[in-house]
Amino acid sequence: MHSLNRRGFLGLTAGLSIATLTGCGTTGAQTSAPSTPRAGGRLRAAFAGGGAKEVLDPHLANLFVEAARSKALYDKLADLGPDVSAQPRLAEKWEPDAALTRWRITLREATFHNGQPVRAEDVLASYARILDSNRAFRAKSSLALIDLANSRAVDDRTVEFALKRPFVEFPNVLAAFGAYIVPAGAEDFTAPVGSGPFSFVSFEPGKSVLLKRNAEYWEGAPHLDELEFVIANEESARTNALLGGQVEYAHDLTPTTARSHSGSDRLAIHRAPNSAVQAFAMKVDRPPFDNRDLREAMFLLADRPQLVESVLAGAGQVGNDLFGKGYQHYADDIAQRTRDLDKAKFLIRRAGAEGLTVKLDTSTAAAGMVEAATVFADQVKGSGLTIEVVTGNKDSYWADTLKNGSMSSFRSGAMPIETHIAQRLLSGSGTNVTKWARPEFDALYDRAVSTVDAGERTSVYRDMQRSLHAEGGYLMWGFADWIVGAAPNVGGISTAPANTLDWARFDKVWLG
């Protein structure tokens, strides 16, 4: 349903902006219709950057701007579709053997910017680089189940991956954040060579990256002649640059900006629903939240519509304590939780927690977290429990809250539900912030990832989600829209969730 509606939605927004333009006749200059693709032009896109952290090595990519640049310059074997399921990219198709431990990948005919074909050898070399035991690339843990020594290039366009265990969701691995394919032996990324829709022109760290159209791109050449990424860390600066005509695309705007410029003839707001989940994480292995009643009480105390309205300024949807609303395998058949103060009071009394004060760790590491914590602390008042909001250091926040405290603000971008479970909810997961560790849950996961039949697999995922919904540690209260602003003449901007293939994807964008 999600994928079906996407086109319709795009058409609708395009139609609406035309209506706005023609309707408000005062600015006759902007007559271009964004609904018909047009070739040519340079699009300048403003993103927040990381100064010293910025690199063009796609395996080191960490920031949104690096992910967007990597996407323009390179390809992955697979990427995430609008429903956050893996879609073939450089891999034309994949076929597992019956045991799900050997995967045969057929590469499509693609060439790097230097004219060399993309070969099986480049794929193996790229993955070997990511898996190098002396380095710490982000995709390493995702690729860790590949048995590289036993993987091989069958021919130039066929790779056979050996896995350490049966894994039916292997395409999710191919789509992992940062798992880009670079030419074999590439180590110097000052003038990077990829197989993506744009090729490298120039780079001034912390300031600008200029790329140009790759006419030979396997999926068809981009509409734009040139694409320039510029860095503006302040959201207000990105908005001002867009309003002042200095850029045509501004990434990551706040709901407040979106609200105050809705209907403006100077910029168009594009929203990508279900992009970022907003949550509170309770650690289930220690007091007070090792008590299941108390966790349920917290679930029942959250006034989700109020949180979405006040923290996200309405730019989002309520959550149901489960990750991945609208994604493949999401358990949308579980009833939506609503606030129930009486039941929560009863549960708090039954847990013997009346009069208890709980610290809620938060920080400005992600937008809206401090506000959400404050609003929630307010909603909890009168329940017998008190929440004390503690604002921590934003630079080390995620590492701090992984270890310490009992309740913390949490936020995550889109990823497949399987990946979310693997990284955060198994006994051996590296970033298990809720400390959820259940042998029976681990067993369900193992079963899911070795079940070939998609319907059967979904039903196992739903079982897992039912137990998380009933007694898990994540109070997922809302899903934020991802908001980008663009000049009114920019067409082709997708509304797929952030971190998926179509997000910040400029080869499908045009200047009207």
């Binding site: 300048r44 403003a46 950057g49 990381g50 100064g51 010293a52 952290k53 910025e54 690199v55 960490n62 002396n134 380095r135 710490a136 982000r138 390493k140 843990s141 001034e204 760290p205 912390g206 300031k207 600008s208 320039e228 510029v230 860095i231 503006a232 860390n233 302040e234 207000s236 600066a237 001002n240 640059a241 309003l243 002042g244 200095q246 850029v247 590491a365 992600a366 250091n393 934003k394 630079d395 080390s396 995620w398 590492a399 701090d400 992984l402 936020r411 995550s412 990284q423 590296g430 970033t431």
Partner: protein, 314 residues
Amino acid sequence: MSLRRYALRRLAIGVIQVLAVVTVVFLLVQALPGDAAVALAGDNPDPRRIEEIRVAMGLDRPALDRFGSWLWGLAHGDFGVSLFSGRPVAEFLHDGLGPTLVLALLALVLLIPLSVLLGVLAALREGGPLDRVVTTVTVGLHSIPEFALAVVLIAVFGVQLRWLPPTAVGADLLASPAVLVLPLVVLVARPLCSISRLVRAGMIDALASDHVRHALRLGIGVTRVRFAHALPSALAPAVQQVARTVDWLLGGVIVVEAVFVIPGLGTILVDAVAGRDLPVVQGLAVVFAVTTVVVNLVADLVVFRLAPRSVAIA
């Protein structure tokens, strides 16, 4: 004390000051929660991965060891490499220094004549309408923080009227000078107020002083007395304030750089501290410390020349 001996002594103290600053900066960054590995891991803080990053960055070496080898490199003119990108710190400094220097120099070029002119005019018309207008405006303007002024100027002249570009995003500063107008107005506004107030006060004192009255009694022309006799001693406190302003300008004027998107030293510093990228932070500390010491030294020497009695023989 001779000017030369005074200068040499101040220079020796300066070297010690610079060393002290970088040591303190190193200790402070060490004391911040989390290190570069934690900052880089961000929202994916898998402890195993953080440990791997730590080893890959060489952060598993003892702090004293790292500081020692950094100092050793510095003695050989080597600022080290960024923990994240592996690029030499000198390159960062070079990249960031350009925009900051352009801003700082242009600001000074505007600031010094304007503030002296304003101060002298106000002093010569002490108590008159001009003096009162200048006083009211400078005191008022001085109370507006850079941030607020910048936001208002951008909203009015950048976004609403569209007379000037609201940011310097992606622009080459010298090739498109229009982007510099608003940042320079913001940068000059407050120091203009404080320095012109100092010049005014100094000038009023100087005009009332014995040596000026004496010069007038000797029949020297009024203009000559004002500019050759009164002004130099009136400038002494202002020169020291200018030195402080230079520190402030080079300190990146973080707010101005952030609001107008000018990738100067301030931006680099903020990013480097957030990332705990110690070699970059240390490199910046050296630049700032050296600048501060040198600028203050020059200011004191100038004051020494202008009004020898006002420099305490320390």
